[in-house]
């Protein structure tokens, strides 16, 4: 999956890459669901967002992605305002929403074709054990397989920051291990992972952030 290229590309930035959130606040509709959220994430770090349903985990991920404007606070990328240029910020991100964005009419490989910013579709499919299904129309996939397809998209984005909304939803044990493996590779190359989850994910030495 071009790991070597990715590592080479990011080796120079590895030390200074850092995400910092300072007392973020965000609205969901009329309701202020996030207030005073602060954290720091170093290159290679992982952060698990925890909290009850409706605590604002998804809202925080969308705010970090720039999809929802911040009501207060600042998000810094390497010390600079991350959200000043949304297009540039988007290129740093791999975002896995709670929906899979899988088009039923396209084949598995075609679904990924567009996300490929220079990544190899075949290798990404193989990492999630989807390679034998590459030519199958996506409407025949099970919920777990669709989730794996959405996760494969992350590998193609070749972005340093992954924002994952319940990445383990619908995954079987083998796929969870595969998710852990690709996350480990991503972090070893200097990438960062922020995941909202109710379940334990195989992300070693991840810090946790509790939202209430």
């Amino acid at each position: 999956m071009g790991d070597t290229e990715m590592a080479g590309h990011e080796a120079g930035q590895k030390d200074r890459m850092r995400l910092e959130a300072r007392s973020l606040a965000a609205f969901r509709g009329e309701r202020l669901v996030l207030e005073g959220v602060s954290f720091r994430l170093e290159a290679g770090g992982a952060l698990l967002l925890r909290g009850a349903n409706g605590a604002g985990k998804s809202t925080l991920l969308r705010a970090l992605a720039g999809l929802i404007p911040l009501a207060a606070g600042t998000l810094l990328w390497e010390g600079e305002d991350a959200l000043a240029d949304l297009s540039q910020h988007a290129r740093r991100l791999g975002y896995l929403g709670h929906q899979d964005a899988v088009k039923p009419a396209l084949s598995v490989a075609e679904n990924l074709g567009l996300a490929a910013r220079g990544g190899d579709v075949g290798v990404a499919l193989a990492a999630l054990n989807l390679a034998p299904l590459a030519d199958l129309p996506a409407r025949f996939l099970s919920a777990g397989q669709r989730r794996r397809l959405a996760i494969a998209r992350l590998l193609l984005a070749r972005a340093p920051l992954w924002l994952l909304d319940e990445p383990g939803n619908g995954l079987d044990d083998a796929s969870l291990i595969a998710l852990g493996a690709i996350s480990d590779r991503h972090r070893a190359a200097g990438g960062m992972v922020i995941a909202a989850t109710h379940h334990d994910l195989p992300f070693p030495s991840a810090s946790q952030l509790f939202l209430s």
């Binding site: 992605a65 988007a90 929403g97 899979d100 964005a101 088009k103 009419a105 567009l114 996300a115």
Partner: protein, 221 residues
């Protein structure tokens, strides 16, 4: 830029797989046009006089048909989020969608307009002017429709709201298009009317994608 064309290609591929949608708009166009001779009688002189107007109104209504699915499916399955995070500006996404809408709806309507017009007894010398007006006309409708579809995105009963929003804005296009055909029928100069149509298109080309892009960002919140 590459991503922009990839988005258009993907939309075209999707609409090929869902070919029924394009076909439905075309059939609607024909059927709506054919209702008029049935309702007002097949007298050639009368039909020929109002035929350009019929073609224009039918094209306008047919172009509206696929609009509520233009962003709807992407909005519901999360693909819109992925697009907004692809690094393309939201206005570029809207422009790509408008281009895809024209290629899958406007262009087929343009091709189908000639046989429909002949069926309605439009005189052969008026046909080039009618089609020459429909070219910028359908382009403008695609841009307007894209902006409308983005604005009603996420609203309850957006499908009902959409024509109420787009049809009034399409009135200038309709007027300039039909007056061009009327001018051709009475051997008056048609150029000013066509130029006005292109002027409308020139205004919409930057404004509609910008408005649609802002609406898409608001819908994603």
């Amino acid at each position: 830029m590459k991503l922009f064309f990839q988005l258009i290609t993907r939309e075209l591929r999707l609409s090929l797989r869902h070919g029924a949608d394009t076909l439905a708009a075309l059939l609607f166009f024909f059927l709506a046009g054919m209702l008029f001779p049935l309702a007002i009688g097949p007298g050639p002189a009368e039909l020929a006089r109002i035929a350009p107007g019929i073609v224009w109104v039918a094209a306008l209504l047919a172009a509206l048909l696929p609009l509520d699915r233009l962003f709807g499916a992407d909005f519901e399955d999360g693909a819109l989020d992925q697009w907004l995070l692809s690094g393309l500006p939201a206005a570029a996404i809207a422009l790509a969608k408008a281009t895809a809408h024209w290629l899958t709806t406007g262009f087929p309507l343009l091709l189908a307009a000639a046989p429909l017009a002949l069926m309605l007894r439009v005189r052969a010398e008026i046909l080039p002017v009618l089609l020459g007006g429909l070219l910028p006309g359908t382009l403008a409708l695609s841009l307007l429709g894209t902006a409308g579809a983005a604005i009603v995105l996420g609203a309850r009963r957006g499908g009902v709201l959409l024509p109420l929003l787009v049809l009034p804005l399409a009135i200038p296009v309709l007027i300039f298009g039909t007056t061009a055909a009327a001018a051709a029928a009475t051997h008056l100069p048609v150029r000013p009317h066509l130029l006005l149509l292109f002027a409308v298109l020139a205004v919409l080309l930057p404004l509609a994608p910008l408005a649609a892009g802002a609406a898409l960002r608001a819908a994603a919140e």
